[in-house]
C-alpha cells in the first residue's frame, strides 16, 4: 500500500514535469494557475479542514501577498524579499483575524471573514495612491533565478512547481506533526482539547495565521504569473472559489485541495463545448457532486476503500475478543 502511494506520487510528479511540453501557452498558464490556487487552497484546508475554522478571507490574503509582491518587485526589490514580506504580513493579519474565531464559530465566523474580505477589497480599490485603485498595477515583473529570466511561460511554470513542492512538503510536515493533531483536536472538541493542555487560543490563531501565510504565498506567485493585479481578483467570489476547491476535494484530507483546485480550474475547460450553458452545467455538477459525496472526492474515495476492505473480514476485531462467560 505504502509503495503504491509512493509510486503514485512519483508518477504525478513526472506528469507535472512533462505536462507543459505537451501544452500550448494557454495550457501551461492554466497549469500554473492550478498550482497557484492549490497553494491558497492548502492554506484554507489547514484553517478549515484541519482546525475547523471557516474562513472566507483567503482571497484577501492572496491579495495582500500579490500586492506586496507587485509593489516591491516593481520597485526593483527581489521576489524572494517580497514573498517574505507578503507572507509575514499575511501571518500577522491572519493572527488578528483569528481573534473573532476565539469568540464565534460557524456562520458567524464565516461572516466576519467575509466582512474582512470586503473591507480589504475596499482598501485595494479606494486607496489609489498605494494600490493603483480600480486600475490595479500593471507590468509586474517575473523574477529571475540565478540570472535566468522567467518571462517565458514554461520557465515560470517550473519555478511555480518548485515553490509548490516546497509548500506541499512543509504542509505535509506540519499536519503530521503533533501540531496537526492539536489542530484536529480544536476542530473536534475544543473544550476538551483545552482541558488537556492544548492552548486552543494560540492554536486557533496559528491556524488562521499559517493558512493566511499560504494565501500570501499563493498571491506572491500569482502576481508575476498574471503580471497584472487589480482588486477584482481578490473579491469574495474568489474566496468562495477557493472554499469550493477545499470542499469538493475533501476538506481535512491532505490531497483534497490538489484535487479540488484541479477540478474547479479544469472543469470549465472541459465544459467549453457547452458554450453559453457551461456555467449552468458547471454549477449543476457542483450541486450534484455535493449531493453524492458531501465529504468531497477524497471523502468518497476513503469511504469506498473502507467499504472494500471491510467486505473481506466482514467484522471488527473486538467482536471476537473478550468473551467473559
Amino acid at each position: 500500500m505504502k509503495q503504491l502511494k509512493i509510486l503514485g506520487l512519483v508518477a504525478i510528479l513526472a506528469g507535472l514535469i512533462i505536462a507543459p511540453f505537451t501544452q500550448a501557452t494557454y495550457g501551461t498558464y492554466v497549469l500554473s494557475s492550478w498550482l497557484v490556487f492549490t497553494v491558497a487552497a492548502m492554506g484554507l484546508n489547514l484553517t478549515l479542514g484541519y482546525a475547523g475554522q471557516i474562513s472566507l478571507a483567503q482571497a484577501a490574503f492572496m491579495g495582500i501577498g500579490a500586492y506586496s509582491t507587485a509593489l516591491m518587485t516593481m520597485a526593483g526589490l527581489p521576489w524572494i524579499a517580497s514573498v517574505v514580506v507578503g507572507m509575514g504580513l499575511c501571518f500577522v493579519v491572519g493572527l488578528i483575524l483569528g481573534y473573532p474565531a476565539l469568540r464565534v464559530q460557524n456562520h458567524f465566523l464565516a461572516f466576519v471573514t467575509l466582512a474582512f474580505t470586503t473591507l480589504a477589497f475596499l482598501v485595494m480599490r479606494n486607496e489609489e495612491w498605494l494600490t493603483g485603485g480600480i486600475y490595479g498595477l500593471v507590468g509586474v515583473p517575473r523574477p529571475s533565478v540565478a540570472g535566468l529570466s522567467l518571462m517565458d511561460g514554461t520557465r515560470y511554470y517550473f519555478f511555480t512547481l518548485g515553490v509548490f513542492i516546497l509548500a506541499s512538503l512543509s504542509f505535509w510536515w506540519l499536519v503530521n506533526s503533533p501540531w496537526g493533531r492539536a489542530f484536529k483536536g480544536l476542530r473536534e472538541n475544543p473544550i476538551r482539547a483545552n482541558s488537556l493542555g492544548v492552548d486552543t487560543r494560540l492554536v486557533t490563531l496559528l491556524a488562521f495565521a499559517i493558512g493566511a501565510a499560504y494565501g500570501g504565498l499563493s498571491g506572491a506567485l500569482m502576481a508575476p504569473l498574471v503580471q497584472y493585479i487589480d482588486p477584482m481578483s481578490f473579491t469574495l467570489i474568489i474566496s468562495l472559489k477557493i472554499l469550493l476547491m477545499v470542499v469538493v476535494g475533501g476538506s481535512g484530507y491532505f490531497f483534497g485541495p490538489f484535487l479540488g483546485a484541479g477540478l474547479v480550474i479544469m472543469l470549465p475547460e472541459f465544459l467549453r463545448f457547452a458554450e453559453a450553458y457551461y456555467l449552468m452545467i458547471y454549477a449543476a455538477l457542483v450541486v450534484f457532486l455535493m449531493v453524492v459525496c458531501p465529504s468531497g472526492l477524497l471523502g468518497l474515495l476513503s469511504r469506498g476503500i473502507a467499504a472494500i476492505r471491510s467486505r473481506e473480514p466482514a467484522e471488527r476485531g473486538d467482536l471476537k475478543e473478550g468473551a467473559q462467560l
Binding site: 473573532p100 456562520h107 470586503t118 468562495l240 470542499v247 453559453a276 454549477a283 450541486v287 458531501p294 465529504s295
Partner: protein, 292 residues
C-alpha cells in the same frame, strides 16, 4: 436636518425589504439549522415565475402571483428539499453551503438563458404616490413594505413559538435524532421549513421587484444584505431579522452619506464585526447557553 430624516426614512423602508429576505435565513436556521447561500436567488426567481405567469401564460396579475407562489413553493420548497438538502443534512454545514452557492449560480444562469439577461419592470402592489413629512419624502410603497414585513415576522414568530408544529420544527433543527425518536416526522418538518421559506421569498420578491427591477443578477446583493440583517438581529429570533434589516438599511444610508460613498459597505460590515464580537447572538438573539 431634512436630509438626515430622509436618510433614516429611506433606510427604514429599504431595511424592511432586507428584513423580508432575512426572515428566510432565520427560519431555515431555527427550523433546520441550515444556511441557504442561494437565499438571494430564492428572492430573485419568484418574480420571474410571476412574470412567466403574466407575460407568457397571459394570466391576470393577481392570479400570476398565485401561480408564481405555487411554482416557487414547489420548486424552491419541495424539489429543493428533496433533491438537494435531504441527502446532505446528515453531513453538516459545509456541503450545504457549497451546494447552495452553486445552486445560486445555476438559478442565475437558468433565468438568464431561459428568460432574459435584461432587467424587467415589475408591477407594484402599492401605489408609488408619495407624501412629505418634515421635508422627507415617503411613499405608500415604503409604508406597505414595512407593514407587510412586520406582519410576516410576527406571524412566523407566533407560529414557531406557539404551535406544536412550530416547536416540532425547532426540535428537528436542534436535535434531529431526538425529534425522530419522539415520533416527529423529521423529514416533513424540514419540508415545511423549506416550503414556508419559499413562500416568504416569493412575498419578498413581489415587494422588492417593483423597486429593484427583476434581474437575474439581483440575488447576490440581496442575499448578502439579508444575511447581514439576520446576523445583526440574531439568528435565533425571527423578529431579529426585522431589527437587523432596519438597522442595516439605516446604517448603510448614513455611512454612504456621512462616511464616504466609496466606503459605504464598510459601514454595515464594521457594524457586523462589532456585533459579532460584542454580542455574537445578535441584538435580539439569546445566547445558546451551557457548553460544559
Amino acid at each position: 436636518m431634512s436630509d438626515f430624516l430622509q436618510l433614516i426614512i429611506s433606510g427604514l423602508s429599504t431595511g424592511s425589504i432586507y428584513a423580508l429576505a432575512a426572515i428566510g435565513f432565520t427560519l431555515l436556521w431555527q427550523a433546520s439549522q441550515t444556511i441557504n447561500f442561494a437565499q438571494g436567488e430564492f428572492v430573485m426567481v419568484p418574480a420571474f415565475f410571476i412574470l412567466i405567469g403574466s407575460r407568457v401564460l397571459g394570466l391576470p396579475f393577481p392570479i400570476a402571483i398565485g401561480f408564481g407562489l405555487a411554482v416557487a413553493v414547489f420548486t424552491l420548497g419541495f424539489v429543493f428539499k428533496r433533491l438537494v438538502i435531504q441527502p446532505m443534512l446528515p453531513h453538516g454545514h459545509l456541503p450545504i453551503v457549497m451546494a447552495t452557492i452553486a445552486l445560486a449560480i445555476l438559478m442565475r444562469e437558468l433565468v438568464k438563458e431561459f428568460y432574459s439577461a435584461e432587467a424587467q419592470t415589475f408591477p407594484a402592489l402599492f401605489s408609488e404616490q408619495t407624501f412629505d413629512v418634515f421635508g422627507a419624502v415617503i411613499s405608500h410603497q415604503d409604508i406597505g413594505n414595512l407593514a407587510v414585513s412586520a406582519v410576516a415576522i410576527i406571524a412566523l414568530q407566533l407560529f414557531l413559538g406557539r404551535t406544536r408544529t412550530g416547536r416540532s420544527m425547532q426540535a428537528t433543527a436542534q436535535n434531529p435524532g431526538v425529534a425522530e425518536i419522539l415520533g416527529v416526522n423529521v423529514q416533513r418538518m424540514v419540508l415545511y421549513t423549506f416550503m414556508i421559506n419559499a413562500a416568504l421569498a416569493t412575498l419578498a420578491s413581489v415587494l422588492i421587484s417593483p423597486i429593484y427591477l427583476a434581474k437575474f443578477s439581483n440575488g447576490e446583493p440581496i442575499g448578502l444584505v439579508a444575511f447581514l440583517a439576520a446576523i445583526v438581529g440574531g439568528f435565533n429570533q425571527v423578529r431579529g431579522a426585522l431589527v437587523g434589516g432596519l438597522l442595516i438599511g439605516v446604517i448603510d444610508n448614513l455611512s454612504a452619506a456621512y462616511l464616504s460613498s466609496e466606503y459605504r459597505i464598510a459601514g454595515p460590515m464594521i457594524l457586523l464585526i462589532v456585533i459579532i464580537l460584542l454580542r455574537p447572538q445578535g441584538l435580539l438573539g439569546t445566547s445558546e447557553g451551557r457548553t460544559v
